[in-house]
Symmetry: C2
Subunit: 552 residues, 2 copies
Amino acid sequence: MSAAQAHLIETTPQAYGYPLLIKQLLHSALATAPDQEIVYADQRRHSYAEFDRRIQRLGNMLRGLGLQPGNTVAVMDWDSHRYLECFFAVPMLGCVLQTVNVRLSPEQIAYTLNHAQADVLLVNSDFMPVLKQIRGELNTLTRCVLITDDGTPAPQGPGFAGEYEALLSQAEPVCSFPDFDENARATTFYTTGTTGLPKGVYFSHRQLVLHTLSVTAGLALAPQQGRLHRDDVYMPLTPMFHVHAWGLPYVATMAGLKQVYPGRYVPDTIVRLIETEKVTFSHCVPTILQMVLGCEAAKSADLSGWKMIIGGSAMTSSLAQTARERGIDVFTGYGMSETCPILSLGQVPTADLGTGRDVATRVKTGRPLPLVALRTVDGEMQDCPRDGSSTGEVVVRAPWLTQGYLHQPQASVDLWQGGWLHTQDIGHIDQRGYLQVTDRIKDVIKTGGEWVSSLQIEEIIARHPAVAETAVIGLQDGKWGERPLALVVLKAGQDGKVDSEAIRRHVMAAVDSGQISRYGVPDKVEFVSELARTSVGKLNKKAMRESRQSRS
Amino acid sequence: MSAAQAHLIETTPQAYGYPLLIKQLLHSALATAPDQEIVYADQRRHSYAEFDRRIQRLGNMLRGLGLQPGNTVAVMDWDSHRYLECFFAVPMLGCVLQTVNVRLSPEQIAYTLNHAQADVLLVNSDFMPVLKQIRGELNTLTRCVLITDDGTPAPQGPGFAGEYEALLSQAEPVCSFPDFDENARATTFYTTGTTGLPKGVYFSHRQLVLHTLSVTAGLALAPQQGRLHRDDVYMPLTPMFHVHAWGLPYVATMAGLKQVYPGRYVPDTIVRLIETEKVTFSHCVPTILQMVLGCEAAKSADLSGWKMIIGGSAMTSSLAQTARERGIDVFTGYGMSETCPILSLGQVPTADLGTGRDVATRVKTGRPLPLVALRTVDGEMQDCPRDGSSTGEVVVRAPWLTQGYLHQPQASVDLWQGGWLHTQDIGHIDQRGYLQVTDRIKDVIKTGGEWVSSLQIEEIIARHPAVAETAVIGLQDGKWGERPLALVVLKAGQDGKVDSEAIRRHVMAAVDSGQISRYGVPDKVEFVSELARTSVGKLNKKAMRESRQSRS
């Protein structure tokens, strides 16, 4: 820009500058939906007005524990009304909410609590064994609050301040939440890559408010498929610790929706809640959807009209088809821990509904939300053509991306090379703006001078009627650089009925029809009983590669 | 807040901080809807991709006129694709867009151009007579650009740089719009109260982006009635100069909607555009809706499914009923120039659709948008009960309210007394969060120790089958303080068939049924051929009062 500068607006001293703080999401919900319900499994239900009163008591309770703005409050709980209260009260005090990934190993949990300098821990009694194991290693923690469903008192002793519900009832009822800088840190979460120690991502009040507004707009603007509206009933099926359950609890609260929190994920309980509470909107990873569809209660349940964002891993066409046959309105959401997380949605335009493009669009990675600038670029950060086939790395800008990894400056610089957040995903964009991620940079198989997408081969193998799940990895090869290996889990009752050659012939048919290059046909197919996964349920291809490389 | 401060997020130097700038609204629209149409009456249609190219050329064209960030570009045009281009290109350069109210008197227009220090004026040839009249008084203006539909060249001479379309075609095709502070002023507009000189309100990039997101969410979240979605076709019927056509062109663009700009408002043309372009979403003041419904073309037109936000003045139940009978989905939007403008929407909850509460809800002032904190308060800024009847002044906070009046510090302090923007509207809020504005502070009639709402009496009189329009004002009275006078415009053919007593009896029936106090029955009813209005079509009660007081 030249020496001349745009003129900033003049502000009257009395005027309210309106920082974008999480507390501001409550205004319209409390004014318009004070009687709307928040439900915790079969344990409890109360109104938004009561939710507001509980937030205020929680604020006073946390202050009573000596917490100051800038301190960190860690939470280890299943998805609950209490977690939702923490989503609001903790950052509204100016404190940081650390949503602890309870699926990590105890050592990793200890690492993340120390790294985030957690001052207070709210811990569900189910995780007390973990806490006992690591308590001696926690350097910054001063107090704990026990969470139980049945009011069991907290253990006596210096570490525990008491039990959540008891402390809440003792706290003062009216809490004044102050204004402060919208760039204050509100939340911290640790990503669980397949390499190295967990890395902390963090989000400010401003970022969470903007994510909430844009996700709301992106969902609600859909003419028919994949839309959210005020009559929806929301239930998360991505854990609340996992990047704030994709931010949807903030969306649901701002919109004043009825909300249902399922506690620990038990498939039969989930199905019962969908039926009794008339849940209409959820989100989860493909594995959870498979788990729910496969449970006993689901067999007789009416799941039609249940809208479901699928993310975390790619949804296969066959899973989408199965869900559609049950009347579930599945579609893809895309993002990652670093991106708050949602960047794009695979909603189906009205003209494509029910056509051959319908399911194909639902499994696409999706179109960018408002304000999201999303590109696919080559190694020199030049744009790839938007032709639906030219692949490059997906890089993004949005007002809600982590501005770095906590206390990891070099990883932060790598993440933000050239001023764009590097997703490390490979994909292509078509003329209608749909992104299709084809692979992770590190999972692309380089063979015979070509790049073969492991996801694409997996998608093809998954269409074989005997296949339940599959993962394709590249193994080092002296001649070709790498060669694909397919790991296949067969459906129940299929063991011994399908052999390696049948799978290879199935893939070869896709070569013949021009879908993939012949380099993509796996040399070997290995039948396994399960696939290695990370703590959040994603395929752990690093572990798969390492165990096979060391064997060979 | 205590000495301890919330910790601001750490930022990596390479990370993109993402200022909320108007240019960022274009990302998702251009990526997902490049072929979507923008239509200018029956003159022109082009794609969003072409819209983007024209914005870039316009940016270069304006730079070529010597404009620097911080300079002001004023526009006098009817609603057009060109105005939409200015909505984006002018602020995207870091300049300020002054949307000139072409309905003001030439003297007032000259005052606003000088007060805003307009550097360049883009002027439709229809307003050349006005410009000629005031050119000598314009102290800051250096260059003009002529706007014509037929390409008529601009007048020769030092003042005119050329004609819009010709200059656009000569401009360089690629323009780089810089990043700058999101608090830079983007737009200025002059409000036209009934007292004093016009006052300038102003909005930053950040404010306009946040208004766009929240209005989108508020409209799109509606389950059925009053919702906006990506298949809608948008056409403004509030002039683009009037607080950015209520901000809806930014909403429509961000959402990638087909947009239709009608040029000068000609009722038959408007109806034809609705039919041929399949317009589904508009907004206007009650007068415009009446004008459209009353035109020849409307008689045979199918207007069903046309969604319409009504604002600026209260919509009467009878107008709402008439519109509903034509299938028009009318509902109220509330706000004012100072508030960007939208604060609340009178959408009907699903359960109330088609019931006795349906029309009653549409004419309510509405429920607050996300992020809007809206209160009714007494003189000590204490909240009135939310009981649907206790009235107080409406005061608001939102992230898009003008932070003052341009260069008017005392008026700015008055506007923002106590840190809340004072709307000067009187109203009440019910338990479901619906605001009902009952009057302007200055239009409340104080009689016999009671406050009588002039709007409520108007609403009652308007239900009389012979009445086309009415205004009720308070006239000074030695005994009662003030007494109401009703000015009534009768429907065509009703002259002489209805007398003053018939109207008074009609109001008395409402007293008998307990709707209003007996103090509200007008002493006199005066039949007139038209009601005095301000330049933007609102009832000018100040003028009505003054002409009657001086007579008496």
